[in-house]
């Protein structure tokens, strides 16, 4: 990450020059931020406030909204699909807190050991990140999972007991998660590697002189050394896990029998297929609540990190 010479925490220090904060200059500079925030308010803030309001209305997107109090929440809470979607989001979060982070850490420490080919491996691992989700989804769907055109189908014809994970209620969610894992872990590996390189060489050298094994090195030197980065990535993982949409929407559309439905696809379906915008808004609020807690920690860590 780019180095930072100024910090948010330094805000309390007086400005070096009075002229910088002079009212006239301040007013001119206020104009500079108008475009960014004007766009942000129109696209994000105002509609977000409307979503909060809509969660208490019944609205089909066309006629006039009608105030219904907490009915939308009552309706979604009594819907078993909502609860299975929420459970799926939680399972998803747990998977992504463990698997890609572990894969990324292992690969990143290996990159640290390897002296040759670091750039090559980094680029290869990062490649899935730059491919569009729609394309990644179709490649896995057709070329890997499909019983007709995919590698799984080929293995099945050769007598191996493999079926399309997307077609089973107990496996669909994991089938989708695998695709997102593939798309995602390389990013974490590259981030962790960048962080590992900042761990002071003296610490590593000292541990080596004491004859530390790989696991001891990892546990006592490397992991503590990049803990802030790991924490940050975990918080972001939680936030993103509640936003997952593309892969579920393209690969299974939440099926079979809602077994891979997540909150974001549920909200989308409520809004655009069932024309039940109020319930969609209610689900969106639930998603946001989970995100909000994580966002709080994210902002706190970001500012604290800058302060150090």
């Amino acid at each position: 990450m780019a180095t930072q010479t100024e910090t948010l925490a330094g805000a309390d220090a007086p400005p070096r020059r009075a002229s910088e904060m002079a009212p006239s200059a301040s007013r001119v500079h206020l104009l500079y931020i108008v475009p960014t925030f004007a766009i942000n308010f129109v696209i994000i803030l105002v509609p977000a406030l409307l979503t909060i309001a809509l969660a208490f209305f019944s609205w089909d997107g066309i006629s006039n909204p009608e105030f219904v109090g907490l009915d939308n929440f009552a309706a979604i809470f009594s819907d078993s699909v909502f609860w299975s979607a929420l459970t799926n989001n939680i399972i998803w979060t747990l998977i992504f807190l463990i698997v890609p982070i572990a894969m990324g850490l292992v690969a990143a420490t290996m990159l640290l050991i390897a002296r040759r080919g670091r750039t090559f491996f980094q680029v290869v691992y990062f490649l899935p990140v730059v491919i569009a989700t729609a394309i990644t989804a179709r490649v896995w769907q057709g070329m890997i999972y499909s019983p007709v055109t995919g590698v799984f189908g080929l293995m099945h014809r050769l007598g191996l007991p493999v079926g399309n994970p997307l077609a089973g209620t107990s496996t669909a969610l994991y089938g989708v998660a695998t695709v997102d894992l593939w798309h995602w872990w390389g990013f974490l590996c590259v981030i962790f590697f960048a962080a590992l390189r900042q761990v002071p060489a003296e610490h590593i050298e000292a541990a080596r002189l004491e004859g530390a094994s790989y696991w001891q090195m990892l546990r006592y030197v490397l992991l503590p050394g990049i803990r802030p980065t790991i924490t940050l990535m975990m918080i972001l993982t939680i936030i993103w896990s509640f936003l997952v949409f593309d892969f579920v929407y393209i690969l299974t559309q939440g099926g079979p029998a809602f077994s891979s439905e997540v909150l974001s696809t549920l909200a989308y379906r409520h809004a655009f297929y069932d024309l039940n915008v109020g319930q969609a808004a209610a689900v969106a609020l639930v998603i946001s609540c989970f995100g909000l807690v994580a966002t709080f920690f994210y902002v706190r860590i970001q500012t604290r990190e800058e302060a150090q």
Binding site: V148, G163, A167, G168, T169, G255, P256, A257, D274
Partner: protein
Amino acid sequence: MERRTFMKAGLALGALPLLGRSAFADDKKPITFWYEAASPENQQHLKDLLIDPFNAAHPDSELSIDFRGEDLDKQLRIAMLSGSGPDIVYTAGPSYVASMAQAGQLLALDDYAQKLGWNDRILPLFMDLGKYNGKLYALAKTYETEGIFYNKTLFEKNGWKAPTTVPELEALAEEAKKMNLVPFAAGNADWRPTNEHYVTWVLNSIAGPENVYKALTGAIPWTDPSIVAAIDKLNEWWQKGYFGPNYFSLTGEQAFAQIATGAAAIAPTGTWNFGLIPTYFPQNNAEPGFIGFPSAEGIPSPIYALGIGSTFSINAKSENADGAAAVFDMIFQPKFYSDMNSVWQGEWNLPLKDLSGVTISDKVTPLYGEVMKNLATAVGNGQYGYTTWTFLPPATDTYLVSGMEQVWLNKIKSADYLKKWDDTFKQEKDQGKVPAIPPRPAGA
């Protein structure tokens, strides 16, 4: 970045609306039409038989068809909400039209029907099925039924006989299973509502059309034992593995191809699949066969369930409604019927009153004409069955599709399924969303 770049950006933004306008600089009024998936050959047929002749005959309009694939339904719903959908609104059946008509997204077609003489040309039953609250919103593009497609060559080789009773059908399925064949070729990977094709099957052939008619008109609830028995039968077939291991991974086309290659015994599906026969049967040196579903005891056999496979409507926001109506007018003619059905079977069975002027190419399997004649006869004397996508209101139809999946996968019991189905139906009946069901001749 310097100031010049800012100015360029400003220019680029300013120029955008101009670009949009210049694209329509010629005076032709566009007519947009989103179609579902079509093979490249069939896309060519549409161009040769519809787009080119229409544009030649109407120099002031420019008809264009955009193929949207399996996503058509979703895209259409989202687009109609913003009033930016195509001029010609194409849906997968009257159940899909209902919600759009109710939301005021469609134009009433009664004036066009009168002016252009559609009432005289189209079978009245189908005109009635396109009506909501007394107004005509949709024309039935194709009417269809379901039955069993099979591979005569494979049947001869195995010494099988096309089943004419339910026990025969089940015996055949068991035998196919023993031979490691998929008993029923089926797949919903590309079209989730494929589930309702099978629900329709058992409703008509196990519960019987009389009971379905009673349920549709509210005389009995959907939780009636006859309906429960039908759903239980369908679930029993599923649990026995008749639908094969890959139902959720195969597309309808991939599944259908299995009977041509001899990987599956029968394909219980709709007549729209006649269009796939030339693609798969000749290359496998197989001869196709088709029979109606055998019925349970006490029900006339076979029952031909009547379905409207797709519908035409006009977008309420269309700027060229007259043009769209002119397109319909060109389609609902004996000439178009003849030409289209000669090259593409199963998707263009237009409900024309008078088919005396129709001649279909002799290259088409005679089976097709035979099946369509049987269906027309059943419709003529009121002895038809009911497809769910034609006669059920939208929310009930949506629920029965996802709910059946939950029954199959042991997430809910069939009784709970039908209970929720019945609740949804009653709610929609109260809201006046159930289409008018044509009366059934007594003693049928």
